[in-house]
Symmetry: C2
Subunit: 219 residues, 2 copies
Protein backbone atom coordinates (compact mmCIF):
# COMPACT_ATOMS: atom_id res chain seq x y z
CA UNK A 1 0.00 0.00 0.00
CA UNK A 2 1.29 3.44 -0.90
CA UNK A 3 0.77 6.04 1.82
CA UNK A 4 0.58 9.73 1.02
CA UNK A 5 0.79 12.45 3.69
CA UNK A 6 -0.26 15.82 2.26
CA UNK A 7 1.35 18.75 4.04
CA UNK A 8 0.64 22.44 3.51
CA UNK A 9 4.19 23.54 4.19
CA UNK A 10 4.05 27.23 3.34
CA UNK A 11 1.54 28.81 5.70
CA UNK A 12 0.50 25.91 7.88
CA UNK A 13 -2.20 26.03 10.55
CA UNK A 14 -3.43 29.58 9.99
CA UNK A 15 -6.47 28.90 12.17
CA UNK A 16 -4.10 28.58 15.12
CA UNK A 17 -3.03 32.22 14.72
CA UNK A 18 -5.02 33.36 17.80
CA UNK A 19 -2.59 31.38 19.98
CA UNK A 20 0.58 30.77 17.90
CA UNK A 21 2.60 33.19 15.77
CA UNK A 22 3.71 32.25 12.24
CA UNK A 23 7.07 30.76 13.27
CA UNK A 24 5.43 28.76 16.05
CA UNK A 25 2.77 27.45 13.70
CA UNK A 26 5.46 26.24 11.30
CA UNK A 27 7.39 24.53 14.08
CA UNK A 28 4.29 22.94 15.57
CA UNK A 29 3.05 21.74 12.17
CA UNK A 30 6.44 20.13 11.52
CA UNK A 31 6.33 18.41 14.90
CA UNK A 32 2.92 17.00 14.02
CA UNK A 33 3.89 15.69 10.59
CA UNK A 34 6.92 13.99 12.12
CA UNK A 35 4.69 12.32 14.70
CA UNK A 36 2.39 11.11 11.93
CA UNK A 37 5.35 9.76 9.92
CA UNK A 38 6.66 7.94 13.01
CA UNK A 39 3.29 6.32 13.64
CA UNK A 40 3.05 5.27 9.99
CA UNK A 41 6.58 3.84 10.05
CA UNK A 42 5.61 1.76 13.08
CA UNK A 43 2.88 0.15 11.00
CA UNK A 44 5.50 -0.95 8.46
CA UNK A 45 4.58 1.56 5.77
CA UNK A 46 6.91 3.94 3.94
CA UNK A 47 4.95 7.15 3.55
CA UNK A 48 5.60 9.87 1.02
CA UNK A 49 5.03 13.49 2.02
CA UNK A 50 3.33 15.57 -0.66
CA UNK A 51 4.09 19.14 0.32
CA UNK A 52 3.49 22.56 -1.18
CA UNK A 53 7.15 23.41 -0.48
CA UNK A 54 10.28 21.47 0.51
CA UNK A 55 10.18 20.16 4.07
CA UNK A 56 12.83 18.47 6.16
CA UNK A 57 11.55 15.15 7.50
CA UNK A 58 12.27 11.41 7.63
CA UNK A 59 10.41 10.53 4.43
CA UNK A 60 10.62 11.21 0.70
CA UNK A 61 9.01 14.55 -0.14
CA UNK A 62 7.26 15.33 -3.42
CA UNK A 63 6.69 19.05 -3.88
CA UNK A 64 3.30 19.73 -5.47
CA UNK A 65 2.01 23.28 -5.40
CA UNK A 66 -1.50 22.42 -6.48
CA UNK A 67 -4.49 22.51 -4.12
CA UNK A 68 -4.94 19.49 -1.86
CA UNK A 69 -7.73 17.86 -3.85
CA UNK A 70 -5.80 17.90 -7.13
CA UNK A 71 -2.52 16.80 -5.60
CA UNK A 72 -4.21 13.83 -3.94
CA UNK A 73 -6.35 12.80 -6.90
CA UNK A 74 -3.30 12.61 -9.11
CA UNK A 75 -1.87 10.00 -6.76
CA UNK A 76 -4.93 7.79 -6.31
CA UNK A 77 -5.33 4.48 -8.17
CA UNK A 78 -6.09 5.36 -11.77
CA UNK A 79 -5.00 8.98 -11.26
CA UNK A 80 -2.74 10.72 -13.78
CA UNK A 81 0.31 10.16 -11.60
CA UNK A 82 -0.46 6.54 -10.81
CA UNK A 83 2.55 4.92 -12.51
CA UNK A 84 1.82 1.49 -11.10
CA UNK A 85 -1.58 1.39 -12.76
CA UNK A 86 -0.17 2.78 -16.01
CA UNK A 87 2.56 0.13 -16.07
CA UNK A 88 0.11 -2.67 -15.45
CA UNK A 89 -1.98 -1.45 -18.35
CA UNK A 90 -5.04 -3.24 -19.65
CA UNK A 91 -3.98 -6.57 -18.14
CA UNK A 92 -4.85 -5.23 -14.71
CA UNK A 93 -8.35 -4.27 -15.73
CA UNK A 94 -10.06 -7.00 -13.73
CA UNK A 95 -7.80 -6.65 -10.70
CA UNK A 96 -7.98 -3.98 -8.09
CA UNK A 97 -5.05 -1.56 -8.30
CA UNK A 98 -2.54 -1.13 -5.50
CA UNK A 99 -4.31 0.68 -2.70
CA UNK A 100 -3.34 4.23 -1.79
CA UNK A 101 -3.77 5.65 1.70
CA UNK A 102 -4.02 9.39 2.36
CA UNK A 103 -3.30 10.43 5.94
CA UNK A 104 -3.43 14.08 6.98
CA UNK A 105 -0.28 15.59 8.47
CA UNK A 106 -2.02 17.13 11.49
CA UNK A 107 -3.27 13.94 13.13
CA UNK A 108 -1.12 14.43 16.20
CA UNK A 109 -3.09 11.78 18.12
CA UNK A 110 -2.54 9.07 15.50
CA UNK A 111 -1.05 5.88 16.90
CA UNK A 112 0.08 2.75 15.07
CA UNK A 113 -2.99 0.96 16.48
CA UNK A 114 -5.38 3.60 15.14
CA UNK A 115 -3.68 3.52 11.74
CA UNK A 116 -3.85 -0.28 11.63
CA UNK A 117 -7.61 0.07 11.94
CA UNK A 118 -7.53 2.31 8.86
CA UNK A 119 -5.49 -0.20 6.87
CA UNK A 120 -7.42 -3.30 7.96
CA UNK A 121 -10.78 -3.22 6.12
CA UNK A 122 -10.81 -4.67 2.62
CA UNK A 123 -13.39 -2.19 1.28
CA UNK A 124 -12.86 -0.28 -1.97
CA UNK A 125 -12.81 2.95 0.02
CA UNK A 126 -12.06 3.19 3.74
CA UNK A 127 -12.95 6.51 5.35
CA UNK A 128 -11.86 7.99 8.68
CA UNK A 129 -14.12 10.97 9.39
CA UNK A 130 -12.69 14.08 10.94
CA UNK A 131 -14.49 16.51 13.18
CA UNK A 132 -16.57 19.10 11.41
CA UNK A 133 -17.24 17.03 8.30
CA UNK A 134 -13.66 16.40 7.24
CA UNK A 135 -12.03 13.24 5.96
CA UNK A 136 -8.85 12.87 7.94
CA UNK A 137 -7.62 9.64 6.41
CA UNK A 138 -8.74 7.27 3.72
CA UNK A 139 -7.66 4.22 1.76
CA UNK A 140 -8.62 3.92 -1.88
CA UNK A 141 -8.65 0.64 -3.81
CA UNK A 142 -11.14 1.64 -6.51
CA UNK A 143 -9.78 3.31 -9.68
CA UNK A 144 -12.93 5.37 -10.14
CA UNK A 145 -12.88 7.10 -6.76
CA UNK A 146 -11.72 10.70 -6.47
CA UNK A 147 -11.49 13.01 -3.45
CA UNK A 148 -13.03 16.43 -2.97
CA UNK A 149 -11.84 18.03 0.24
CA UNK A 150 -14.00 21.14 0.06
CA UNK A 151 -16.90 21.52 2.50
CA UNK A 152 -18.34 18.47 4.24
CA UNK A 153 -15.95 16.10 2.49
CA UNK A 154 -16.96 13.01 4.44
CA UNK A 155 -20.48 13.30 3.05
CA UNK A 156 -19.19 13.99 -0.46
CA UNK A 157 -16.77 11.07 -0.29
CA UNK A 158 -19.57 8.69 0.67
CA UNK A 159 -21.59 9.98 -2.28
CA UNK A 160 -18.67 9.72 -4.71
CA UNK A 161 -18.01 6.13 -3.61
CA UNK A 162 -21.69 5.28 -4.13
CA UNK A 163 -21.68 6.92 -7.57
CA UNK A 164 -18.74 4.83 -8.80
CA UNK A 165 -20.01 1.62 -7.19
CA UNK A 166 -17.21 1.40 -4.62
CA UNK A 167 -17.83 -0.42 -1.35
CA UNK A 168 -17.02 1.61 1.75
CA UNK A 169 -15.95 1.04 5.33
CA UNK A 170 -15.75 3.68 8.04
CA UNK A 171 -13.16 3.75 10.82
CA UNK A 172 -14.63 4.98 14.09
CA UNK A 173 -11.55 6.51 15.72
CA UNK A 174 -11.30 9.53 18.00
CA UNK A 175 -7.57 9.65 17.30
CA UNK A 176 -8.02 9.78 13.55
CA UNK A 177 -10.98 12.18 13.87
CA UNK A 178 -8.87 14.71 15.75
CA UNK A 179 -7.08 16.91 13.26
CA UNK A 180 -5.40 19.79 15.02
CA UNK A 181 -6.58 22.99 13.37
CA UNK A 182 -8.03 25.29 16.00
CA UNK A 183 -6.97 26.49 19.46
CA UNK A 184 -9.60 24.24 21.05
CA UNK A 185 -7.88 21.19 19.53
CA UNK A 186 -4.57 21.72 21.32
CA UNK A 187 -5.81 20.27 24.58
CA UNK A 188 -6.40 16.94 22.87
CA UNK A 189 -2.71 16.79 22.02
CA UNK A 190 -1.74 17.49 25.64
CA UNK A 191 -4.18 14.88 26.96
CA UNK A 192 -3.82 12.07 24.44
CA UNK A 193 -0.46 12.30 22.65
CA UNK A 194 3.12 11.88 23.83
CA UNK A 195 5.20 12.68 20.76
CA UNK A 196 6.95 15.73 19.42
CA UNK A 197 3.79 17.83 19.08
CA UNK A 198 2.81 17.35 22.72
CA UNK A 199 6.37 18.06 23.84
CA UNK A 200 6.47 21.17 21.66
CA UNK A 201 3.26 22.51 23.21
CA UNK A 202 4.53 21.90 26.74
CA UNK A 203 7.82 23.61 25.96
CA UNK A 204 5.87 26.53 24.52
CA UNK A 205 4.12 26.84 27.85
CA UNK A 206 0.76 25.24 27.16
CA UNK A 207 -1.01 23.35 29.92
CA UNK A 208 -4.46 21.92 30.49
CA UNK A 209 -6.84 24.46 32.04
CA UNK A 210 -10.32 23.82 33.36
CA UNK A 211 -13.26 25.80 31.99
CA UNK A 212 -17.01 25.67 32.52
CA UNK A 213 -17.35 22.82 30.10
CA UNK A 214 -14.53 21.09 28.27
CA UNK A 215 -10.97 21.76 29.35
CA UNK A 216 -8.63 23.87 27.21
CA UNK A 217 -4.95 24.30 26.49
CA UNK A 218 -3.74 27.74 27.54
CA UNK A 219 -0.45 29.43 28.31
CA UNK B 1 -23.43 -5.91 33.19
CA UNK B 2 -25.49 -3.10 34.65
CA UNK B 3 -25.66 0.01 32.46
CA UNK B 4 -26.34 3.43 33.92
CA UNK B 5 -27.24 6.45 31.78
CA UNK B 6 -26.98 9.66 33.82
CA UNK B 7 -29.28 12.41 32.57
CA UNK B 8 -29.47 15.99 33.77
CA UNK B 9 -33.19 16.34 33.23
CA UNK B 10 -33.91 19.73 34.73
CA UNK B 11 -31.87 22.27 32.76
CA UNK B 12 -30.23 20.13 30.12
CA UNK B 13 -27.70 21.36 27.58
CA UNK B 14 -27.33 24.95 28.80
CA UNK B 15 -24.27 25.42 26.59
CA UNK B 16 -26.55 25.07 23.58
CA UNK B 17 -28.45 28.23 24.62
CA UNK B 18 -26.85 30.34 21.84
CA UNK B 19 -28.79 28.27 19.30
CA UNK B 20 -31.67 26.57 21.14
CA UNK B 21 -34.16 28.01 23.63
CA UNK B 22 -34.94 26.22 26.90
CA UNK B 23 -37.86 24.19 25.54
CA UNK B 24 -35.87 23.18 22.49
CA UNK B 25 -32.92 22.13 24.62
CA UNK B 26 -35.20 19.91 26.70
CA UNK B 27 -36.74 18.32 23.62
CA UNK B 28 -33.37 17.81 21.93
CA UNK B 29 -31.82 16.35 25.08
CA UNK B 30 -34.71 13.88 25.34
CA UNK B 31 -34.27 12.87 21.70
CA UNK B 32 -30.60 12.17 22.40
CA UNK B 33 -31.18 10.08 25.51
CA UNK B 34 -33.74 8.01 23.64
CA UNK B 35 -31.23 7.41 20.85
CA UNK B 36 -28.65 6.29 23.41
CA UNK B 37 -31.17 3.94 25.06
CA UNK B 38 -32.07 2.46 21.67
CA UNK B 39 -28.43 1.82 20.83
CA UNK B 40 -27.87 0.20 24.24
CA UNK B 41 -30.97 -1.96 23.84
CA UNK B 42 -29.60 -3.18 20.51
CA UNK B 43 -26.52 -4.45 22.32
CA UNK B 44 -28.74 -6.58 24.57
CA UNK B 45 -28.39 -4.45 27.68
CA UNK B 46 -31.18 -3.07 29.86
CA UNK B 47 -30.02 0.40 30.87
CA UNK B 48 -31.26 2.38 33.83
CA UNK B 49 -31.58 6.14 33.52
CA UNK B 50 -30.35 8.04 36.57
CA UNK B 51 -31.97 11.46 36.24
CA UNK B 52 -32.15 14.59 38.33
CA UNK B 53 -35.93 14.67 37.71
CA UNK B 54 -38.53 12.25 36.34
CA UNK B 55 -38.20 11.66 32.58
CA UNK B 56 -40.43 9.79 30.18
CA UNK B 57 -38.43 7.17 28.29
CA UNK B 58 -38.22 3.46 27.46
CA UNK B 59 -36.14 2.49 30.49
CA UNK B 60 -36.44 2.43 34.27
CA UNK B 61 -35.65 5.82 35.76
CA UNK B 62 -34.07 6.39 39.16
CA UNK B 63 -34.38 9.99 40.30
CA UNK B 64 -31.21 11.16 42.05
CA UNK B 65 -30.80 14.87 42.67
CA UNK B 66 -27.15 14.69 43.64
CA UNK B 67 -24.33 15.91 41.40
CA UNK B 68 -23.23 13.53 38.64
CA UNK B 69 -20.09 12.28 40.36
CA UNK B 70 -21.88 11.26 43.55
CA UNK B 71 -24.85 9.71 41.78
CA UNK B 72 -22.54 7.59 39.64
CA UNK B 73 -20.15 6.57 42.42
CA UNK B 74 -23.03 5.27 44.48
CA UNK B 75 -23.84 2.85 41.68
CA UNK B 76 -20.35 1.56 40.91
CA UNK B 77 -19.14 -1.85 42.14
CA UNK B 78 -18.53 -1.47 45.85
CA UNK B 79 -20.48 1.81 45.99
CA UNK B 80 -23.03 2.47 48.73
CA UNK B 81 -25.89 1.63 46.40
CA UNK B 82 -24.31 -1.53 44.98
CA UNK B 83 -26.83 -4.08 46.30
CA UNK B 84 -25.33 -6.94 44.32
CA UNK B 85 -21.96 -6.53 46.00
CA UNK B 86 -23.59 -6.12 49.41
CA UNK B 87 -25.63 -9.30 48.94
CA UNK B 88 -22.58 -11.29 47.85
CA UNK B 89 -20.77 -10.17 50.99
CA UNK B 90 -17.40 -11.46 52.05
CA UNK B 91 -17.68 -14.59 49.92
CA UNK B 92 -17.19 -12.51 46.79
CA UNK B 93 -14.02 -10.89 48.05
CA UNK B 94 -11.74 -12.70 45.62
CA UNK B 95 -14.06 -12.36 42.65
CA UNK B 96 -14.56 -9.28 40.59
CA UNK B 97 -17.97 -7.71 41.15
CA UNK B 98 -20.58 -7.38 38.44
CA UNK B 99 -19.35 -4.70 36.03
CA UNK B 100 -21.16 -1.40 35.77
CA UNK B 101 -21.15 0.68 32.61
CA UNK B 102 -21.82 4.43 32.64
CA UNK B 103 -22.83 5.92 29.29
CA UNK B 104 -23.60 9.61 28.93
CA UNK B 105 -27.03 10.59 27.68
CA UNK B 106 -25.79 13.00 25.03
CA UNK B 107 -23.85 10.54 22.87
CA UNK B 108 -26.11 11.06 19.89
CA UNK B 109 -23.63 9.34 17.56
CA UNK B 110 -23.47 6.16 19.64
CA UNK B 111 -24.19 3.02 17.65
CA UNK B 112 -24.51 -0.58 18.85
CA UNK B 113 -21.13 -1.30 17.21
CA UNK B 114 -19.40 1.55 19.06
CA UNK B 115 -20.96 0.45 22.36
CA UNK B 116 -19.90 -3.17 21.79
CA UNK B 117 -16.33 -1.89 21.62
CA UNK B 118 -16.87 -0.32 25.05
CA UNK B 119 -18.22 -3.55 26.50
CA UNK B 120 -15.63 -5.87 24.92
CA UNK B 121 -12.35 -5.33 26.82
CA UNK B 122 -11.89 -7.32 30.00
CA UNK B 123 -9.96 -4.59 31.82
CA UNK B 124 -10.85 -3.48 35.36
CA UNK B 125 -11.71 -0.06 33.98
CA UNK B 126 -12.57 0.67 30.35
CA UNK B 127 -12.53 4.35 29.38
CA UNK B 128 -14.01 6.10 26.35
CA UNK B 129 -12.52 9.61 26.25
CA UNK B 130 -14.69 12.52 25.25
CA UNK B 131 -13.56 15.66 23.53
CA UNK B 132 -12.11 18.30 25.79
CA UNK B 133 -10.91 15.93 28.47
CA UNK B 134 -14.21 14.30 29.34
CA UNK B 135 -15.03 10.66 29.99
CA UNK B 136 -18.07 9.91 27.89
CA UNK B 137 -18.47 6.26 28.79
CA UNK B 138 -16.76 3.78 31.03
CA UNK B 139 -17.05 0.26 32.38
CA UNK B 140 -15.95 -0.47 35.93
CA UNK B 141 -15.13 -3.94 37.24
CA UNK B 142 -12.88 -2.89 40.14
CA UNK B 143 -14.51 -2.20 43.52
CA UNK B 144 -11.94 0.45 44.40
CA UNK B 145 -12.46 2.70 41.40
CA UNK B 146 -14.46 5.91 41.74
CA UNK B 147 -15.31 8.60 39.19
CA UNK B 148 -14.62 12.32 39.36
CA UNK B 149 -16.24 14.15 36.49
CA UNK B 150 -14.84 17.60 37.24
CA UNK B 151 -12.14 19.07 35.00
CA UNK B 152 -10.07 16.81 32.76
CA UNK B 153 -11.81 13.69 34.00
CA UNK B 154 -10.14 11.33 31.54
CA UNK B 155 -6.77 12.18 33.05
CA UNK B 156 -8.11 11.90 36.58
CA UNK B 157 -9.77 8.57 35.84
CA UNK B 158 -6.51 7.13 34.52
CA UNK B 159 -4.77 8.31 37.72
CA UNK B 160 -7.51 6.93 39.98
CA UNK B 161 -7.32 3.56 38.24
CA UNK B 162 -3.55 3.51 38.68
CA UNK B 163 -3.86 4.45 42.36
CA UNK B 164 -6.19 1.54 43.11
CA UNK B 165 -4.24 -0.93 40.99
CA UNK B 166 -6.95 -1.33 38.37
CA UNK B 167 -6.00 -2.34 34.83
CA UNK B 168 -7.34 -0.03 32.13
CA UNK B 169 -8.33 -0.17 28.47
CA UNK B 170 -9.20 2.79 26.28
CA UNK B 171 -11.78 2.74 23.52
CA UNK B 172 -10.71 4.86 20.57
CA UNK B 173 -14.10 5.88 19.16
CA UNK B 174 -15.10 9.10 17.46
CA UNK B 175 -18.75 8.22 18.08
CA UNK B 176 -18.27 7.78 21.81
CA UNK B 177 -15.96 10.82 22.00
CA UNK B 178 -18.64 13.08 20.56
CA UNK B 179 -20.85 14.32 23.36
CA UNK B 180 -23.21 16.99 22.11
CA UNK B 181 -22.79 20.01 24.34
CA UNK B 182 -21.98 23.03 22.21
CA UNK B 183 -23.36 24.55 19.01
CA UNK B 184 -20.31 23.31 17.09
CA UNK B 185 -21.23 19.73 17.99
CA UNK B 186 -24.61 19.77 16.26
CA UNK B 187 -23.13 19.27 12.82
CA UNK B 188 -21.72 15.92 13.91
CA UNK B 189 -25.27 14.75 14.63
CA UNK B 190 -26.44 15.83 11.18
CA UNK B 191 -23.47 14.18 9.46
CA UNK B 192 -23.12 10.94 11.42
CA UNK B 193 -26.39 10.04 13.15
CA UNK B 194 -29.78 9.01 11.84
CA UNK B 195 -31.94 8.74 14.95
CA UNK B 196 -34.34 10.99 16.78
CA UNK B 197 -31.77 13.67 17.56
CA UNK B 198 -30.77 14.10 13.93
CA UNK B 199 -34.42 14.14 12.87
CA UNK B 200 -35.20 16.69 15.58
CA UNK B 201 -32.44 19.01 14.37
CA UNK B 202 -33.60 18.76 10.76
CA UNK B 203 -37.20 19.49 11.77
CA UNK B 204 -35.94 22.47 13.77
CA UNK B 205 -34.40 23.79 10.56
CA UNK B 206 -30.75 22.92 11.04
CA UNK B 207 -28.63 22.04 8.03
CA UNK B 208 -24.95 21.60 7.28
CA UNK B 209 -23.28 24.87 6.27
CA UNK B 210 -19.76 25.33 4.92
CA UNK B 211 -17.35 27.67 6.69
CA UNK B 212 -13.69 28.51 6.21
CA UNK B 213 -12.63 25.42 8.12
CA UNK B 214 -14.94 22.77 9.54
CA UNK B 215 -18.57 22.78 8.51
CA UNK B 216 -21.29 23.85 10.95
CA UNK B 217 -24.95 23.27 11.66
CA UNK B 218 -26.95 26.45 11.22
CA UNK B 219 -30.59 27.42 10.70
Amino acid sequence: MRVVVPFGAERPKTRLSPVLDADERRAFARAMVRDVLDALASTGHDPTVVATAPVDCDAPVEVDERPLTEAVNDRLPGGAGDDAAADAGAAAEDDRPDPVAVVMADLALATPAALERLFAPDADVVLAPGRGGGTNALVVRHPGFRVDYHGASIRDHRAIARDVGASTATVDSFRLATDVDEPGDLVEVLLHADGRAAAWLREAGFAVTATDGRVEATR
